[in-house]
Amino acid sequence: MRVLVIASLLCVLAACAATPSVTDLGQAPSRSRSIEMYGTLAAAGSFEWKAAPAYTRLALLRRTAAQRLNAGRIGVAHAREIQARADEARGFLDRAVAAHPRAVADAEQLLAAASHLILDAEDYMKGATR
């Protein structure tokens, strides 16, 4: 099961990295297979897959901030600011997931807003790091 999951995820990542054109699909069986598997995974819960990287980046942001604070590379005020920004992004993310599929447009907007906040927080941490 684990091997299948990892193989599927690798196919998803490969498909994201280089989306082939329609003609490519007809000429390259291996790529076609990747796209086919991507389609299968998307059908299993596309919005969950869309939101997953944002949740992951958020957790990584907080963990990295904790490590940098422990190492004295950012200050307490910076860490508090990162936590606050991450909390705000998490609120948007949770609302996006809750809104889907009832209000798809709202969910997409909330996810976009969350992604923007996460990016801002990552940039803030980068700037605050010594």
């Binding site: 995820l9 994201c16 939101a51 942001l61 963990r63 307490v76 997931v97």
Partner: protein
């Protein structure tokens, strides 16, 4: 997607599968697993802040 992010995502998915299989469920929630991951990271940062403030 950065490799570090992809690694965390894969680990979270495998854990979600293990949890679902452990209780005999046929569906797993990646979102719930990632929310729990972020909750843990939040607590970790909060503890680091408290420690730094106390120091």
């Amino acid at each position: 997607m950065k490799v570090e992010t992809a690694r965390i995502l894969v680990a979270a998915l495998l854990e979600a599968i293990d949890k679902a299989e452990a209780v005999g469920r046929n569906e797993c929630s990646l979102t719930e697993q990632l929310q729990a991951l972020d909750d843990a990271a939040r607590a970790e940062l909060e503890a680091a802040i408290k420690r730094a403030e106390g120091a």
